[in-house]
Symmetry: C2
Amino acid sequence: MNPDIVKERNNATFDVEKLTYILDGGPEKTIRRREIESLVFNDPDFKEKDPNFLSRSERYDQAVRKSAQMILKLREYGIADPDEIQQYKTMAKGNLHEAMGLHFAMFLPTLYSQCDPQQSRKWLPLAESFQVVGTYAQTELGHGTHLRGLETTATFDPATQEFVLNSPTISSIKWWPGGLGKTSNHAIVLAQLYTLGKCHGLHAFIVPVRDMSTHEPLPGIVVGDIGPKFGFSEVDNGFLKLENVRIPRENMLMKYAKVDPDGTYMKPPSAKLTYGTMVFIRSMIVGESARALAKSCTIAIRYSAVRHQSEIRQGEPEPQIIDYQTQQYKLLPLLAMAYAFTFVGQYMKQTYLRITGDINQGDFSELPELHALSAGLKAFTTWEANNAIEVCRMSCGGHGYSRSSALPDIYVEFTPTCTYEGENTVMMLQTARYLVKSYRQAKAGQQLSGIVSYLNETQDRRVQPQPVAARPTVVDINDLSSLVEVYKLRAATLVEMAAKNIQQELQRRKSQEDAWNNSCIDLVRASDAHCHYVVVKLFTDKLGEIGDTAIHSVLSNLALLYALHGITKNSGDFLMAGLLSVPQVLQMSLRIKELLSQLRLNAVALVDAFDIHDKKLNSVLGRYDGNVYEHMFEWARSSPLNTEEVHESFHKYLKPLRSKL
Amino acid sequence: MNPDIVKERNNATFDVEKLTYILDGGPEKTIRRREIESLVFNDPDFKEKDPNFLSRSERYDQAVRKSAQMILKLREYGIADPDEIQQYKTMAKGNLHEAMGLHFAMFLPTLYSQCDPQQSRKWLPLAESFQVVGTYAQTELGHGTHLRGLETTATFDPATQEFVLNSPTISSIKWWPGGLGKTSNHAIVLAQLYTLGKCHGLHAFIVPVRDMSTHEPLPGIVVGDIGPKFGFSEVDNGFLKLENVRIPRENMLMKYAKVDPDGTYMKPPSAKLTYGTMVFIRSMIVGESARALAKSCTIAIRYSAVRHQSEIRQGEPEPQIIDYQTQQYKLLPLLAMAYAFTFVGQYMKQTYLRITGDINQGDFSELPELHALSAGLKAFTTWEANNAIEVCRMSCGGHGYSRSSALPDIYVEFTPTCTYEGENTVMMLQTARYLVKSYRQAKAGQQLSGIVSYLNETQDRRVQPQPVAARPTVVDINDLSSLVEVYKLRAATLVEMAAKNIQQELQRRKSQEDAWNNSCIDLVRASDAHCHYVVVKLFTDKLGEIGDTAIHSVLSNLALLYALHGITKNSGDFLMAGLLSVPQVLQMSLRIKELLSQLRLNAVALVDAFDIHDKKLNSVLGRYDGNVYEHMFEWARSSPLNTEEVHESFHKYLKPLRSKL
């Protein structure tokens, strides 16, 4: 064990194990998680080559092997709880993704939720026994987030009782679905349904794409891998071109919408029914942001504790780089963010489960708010975490650039969350739509409830840009509830500004749509402020649940750092709204420095509490034991370019070059 | 040609070709550049496999082949001008790096500048004929930017007239030098020189690492590749462990410092002599930032012109995504930044050449300012461009994540500039040191000249945080010189604040060093503001040189967008310093929207003017003809995972899985 990191752990002011219990939701949860994780790291079948040393095809091969292995082992162990399956898989996957992920994440859930009873009897046993391996083919080369624009067609032919599927243009080729390229033999294809000459919009169809026994593509199917990406090398994201592919009428998922044998179309009873999965996935992505950031902080902070460099005082030994104020300023606000997002992720999961309960009892009343909240928070947390991961990487100097640090992998596997399941700017605008609607309702005298209830207040007070310090401010910069209030008022101000901007555009005789488009900068800003408020509020709320004094103290400092740092980074907003005075902002900068030096003492302990096993972290820089350099050297020596002392290119090009000159 | 992109080009308000001449420095320069570029893209020898389809070893192999080929062709064509060589190589390399880059960028230049005449006679012919292929081994596993901390030793043994080189610790292993792993047979090794029992600090030694005929590592040499990285797959960044390696006394580079046969050490006449190369490389990196960003903007803006998605007005065709205000707000400020950095890059190059001229005549007076400026601008432009490239990538939706977009390659090849040649935070602090020193000189009554002369003024006026709008402001938000003034005053304020912060820390009985460390957040912020001012100023200055009215008009709008966007993003600084009032900042936000819709018309023309050949851009999304989707499909189909319809993993894992369940 590296002595520096031991020293850090000895200096911690709180019990790390107890904080881990809080993060897991109780000691019994922690124990069970560790039990499950040990099933992976004690299993010799999961010994494998570092994927960074393999070709794309080898990586895919190794990932398929692992997918198959996980299926068998999970059944063998009888692990069936979704959280536990997740824990097991996360440990086995490390920082990378699962080859067959979409089969579990989209194909099976769609079958469960959209098959009628007869379809369930046919398809579920096939899919659960992996005779059928499937994916979910929605996105097309020319269309992503905007679903109405999808071009694939499914035309019902009553004569043969079949749907005929086509990709009528290049831009209509299905593109991106995970597992579509090589792994799947079936796909749920989203297509515009045509029957009796009429289009009824997007519906889902089960389309066989490969022969179940030979795995060869079926007639009319052009399918393959879309080629290398920034990351996701384990996954065969695929393309699918459909050329008059005929499937039986029964392959349309018919739990809600139906097409009768004579071609009569019956629409689903409610549009809201399909909307839940999307909300679920977006809510879960908030937790993903927290986990990716927790990993990155663990690596950067542990490394900052063992790395010595340069000098603060001449002639003295080189300090740990975490002693530099600039390093603290880079990393500790991100550590605070990792905690904030962890708690927000927990909240989103709980809220989703609660509202799903309501929905199952026919109560949809909270769904619109959850929809708006999950869209905005998905965008807010993924953007923030995305930038933060790169700051962590660069805070490790050159070594963060080595694949051995794991930071490049963490980044490339995480960054698509900013785009998939709803492009972030579009997500922010969905939330903005809800905020503006709520604002207008409040203005019309309606009493709002829930998280937007603060918009009621804007009607009572004149919130508008005004000279800073013109209004007496009663903000206590050390009091979190006071800061939550300030964040709330900032959000209210920006929502009001965006709404007024739309009004002004309308007065300039712009259409509703153009007025909206011409206000989008303000709308995104309002959404961002709203989400920021929610995060600060939820972090603060969480503190109320924490009994342990030492932990409460350090988490309060983290929450304070998160809140103050967010204000100083956006000080213009707060000053312009007259919510803070200049001296207050300056005072905050000083307070931030104090918090940095206080939190620095607990920095290693705070990342230890995330309890991310070395096998899952897979980073030489982030190792629990801090023995960085010897393992970096060992890793490098085992890399494939070193299998031979002399690379063949010497004989092929370098030596001949001499004689040609 | 895609009709949308044709329409964009037809709508441009200026002559693209003329703007290209301005960027190149004259029509004759443009013509010559195109001539050189055509030598590459018309040459069948440069047809090659997409590196993204190859394994690491194959990529390296292909890159060595290309390096060797470029050497032969450049000699054949008689191209010897450094700029022209650069143009030729840039075209051949596309977005990637050169395997033998360090031989040209560091090994040869160091020999040229630090060999004594005898050494020149021996080594230059060997290195110029590639008998000797070399690299520059400075960075160690445990030490990067802080050179004094390097641990490698070179101890003179008078008995044998040799230096004995050693890597005394794991952390002293040389790490990162490009071309060290496999390509080079020699390295210039930076080591602590010991002679007659005394250490004389870092000196440079020529160390043979591989046998010149067999290419096998020599005795005592442990050398290899450091393993896969985020990018730079073409380059064999290497490690080197020295175990009692003996080299003749003549292998120490002795132009300046010397060790006599009896072990007597003679120090170099001036420390400043070694300092020029560093300044040169940092100055050149500013131009790199501009080029990487220009490429990214070209891709994102062309794609935004051909991509249609979603709807602004219901029922109407899907608009080009560049018509969305949010898309314009993402990309057009970055386009403005690309132009700004291009002009700053030109300025840095010219200034370097001018000052080098002075230095050659013994006048070192401007070197400290150039040193400070190059450090700060290197950090400022690389950080800004680094973030901007990722914004460009994500503005392309999912397709930006495909390697076919080139944006992942551009990012991973560019991002190390934030770390190498001086870690950016350290660079910012170097500039801050100069700024604080200058501030103190001004305060002591000295009259400053050059780019920091504005610090004279802080002595005349009371610049300090004060309530916004307390002071009457006379800023014209449409007048660039007025905005330059505001940026200048912001910089002055922040330099003063940082300097005062150090004073306050000292009053709290902190040591000089601790006072400095406790002010680093403020110091980095001051440097950043200084650099931002310099960029806005140089962009504005450049406009004065442009005669063509149409081009002047569009570039003025770009400069205005750059300046106003920078203010609104940092509005807190300007408000707190009392430089702007709240209504002015709000007005700026409105003005930015107007500029976006004006510049949108010329967006494609403005990226066309960078004149980046498709072969160099290597992006399906950024193609000049806009025919994106068909080429994306074609690229995907040719990717290696599609060479066989059925991947072997089906037979190995998926089929057997069924029978095990």
